[in-house]
Amino acid sequence: MSNEKTTIIQPEDTDKQYNTLNLGPTHPATHGIFQNILKMDGETVMDAEQTIGYIHRAFEKLAEHRPYYQVTPLTDRLNYCSAPINNFGWYLTVEKLLGLTTSKRIDYMRVIIMELARITDHIICNSVVGVDSGALTGFTYLFQMRELVYEIYEEISGARLTTNMGRIGGFERDFSKIAYKKINEFLKKFPKVLLQFENLLMRNRIFMDRTIQVGSIAPDRALNYGFTGPNLRAAGVDFDIRVSDPYCSYQDFEFDIPVGTQGDTYDRFCVRDAEMWESLKIIKQALENIPEGKYYMDEPGIYLPPKDKVYSQMEALIWHFKIVMGEAGYPPGELYHSVEGANGELGFYLISDGGRTPYRLHFRRPCFIYYQAFPEMIKGGVLSDAILTMSSMNVIAGELDA
């Protein structure tokens, strides 16, 4: 035996024990193009930093160079999982600028579509939470239902994902008989499937163990971080713009605001799930009470004239041209209008100088603001919990980067 002592070399700096892990930018678990640089101690996340902007498309700069009509396709591409909400939010902003009050029929039609869009958005978020916790089956059930909603969009606007639906001052056409049939078919089929999905996950021991007390946030922190939508309500704050600042006749409908208590992944899942049932309630009420009337406001100079007149009458052609080119005369003004998007308060801050394009248009994108809290929510947890937290926050890359 030699007398050599074995020495264990201690690292001088404890920081060197940590590993750096890049989660993203194109990782299947991020569900979008954004990067998280995680500082790991074994499986435990010690710190995180987000890098975003990979699909920045300069929408605010583009909007300053486009007539009001041409801004709508930009809003489609913010939260593309619920594009009609963005479209109608933008129309409502412009209608507020113009001082235009839409008729009940238009409001109700919009409400039906917006609630369908909310359901599709929550379908994506909740089923993906299931996938990330290892339960793929629920995803396959629910995604068939999303397909039915996209067929409704297709019937109404001709498009499926980026809908560009409706117009300033109404819709481009009335709901057809087929559209009503498809909506009713969805209302009949969806509750059964949603119930099946709930049975798979809601009281599933594995799912509950994976999600309860994972990625939780306290209500005061959530407010300070600018949380809105289901994420804020999961933390226990009953703030919903549909109720606090009703737009588009939401005051006519009876519905509850589901709230959570812990602000964790399970609560976010449950709040989204309950919101789908509330959305179904709203759609049913809107379908029952939808009044007869025109699907557009009779405001020449704001609403596009019918196509057959554009082809046959000179005045209609002139109006069509002026509206599309932004020469219809928008008053100068400055306003902020927000709608309850599927993942939070979607706001449009618009400054008009009376020109053909907005002078300044700022989108308040909910997930850009609440994604800041992500490092705080995952610190001390394990990597697989971080991924679940991220998917339950419903971060949509298109909205994050505008």
Partner: protein, 161 residues
Amino acid sequence: MDYAFVLSQLNEVFPMAIKESFGSYGCETMVVEKEKIRDIALHLRDKLGFVFLTDLCGVHYPDSDLPFAVVYHFHNLEASLRFRLKVFLTAEPFVETLSDIYLAANWMERETFDFYGIDFQGHPNLIRILNVEYLDYFPMRKEYPLEDPTRADKDDRFFGR
């Protein structure tokens, strides 16, 4: 609580700080001295219940004496009251940060810096957020064209762009 109460309270605590107050489209707006913005935000959050910073963004008015503005939207959830607060800045724009008062302001200030070059003094990590790091201009300023103006293959003059 209504806007008149907030305005009178702020006028009492910060005399002369509020330069202007007007309403437009159902949202009251006040223009304040930029030196007072931190104190006003603290007072709004702690004394008047405006715990929520809805939005923060920049605006560029190239023809004005004070060409930059930072626009804040505050929200009191309990009273369901929103209002807008503006500070106007010189051509070398800087203003104190609110990122420690409202954590939500952190990225919004970075975004405003990224696009308008407004320096938020005291911000912990004021670097570009959406654009690439090596960009050497601030793209949302009005003097920067949307597209490369030397392109000969594209003529969009007639389409409002």
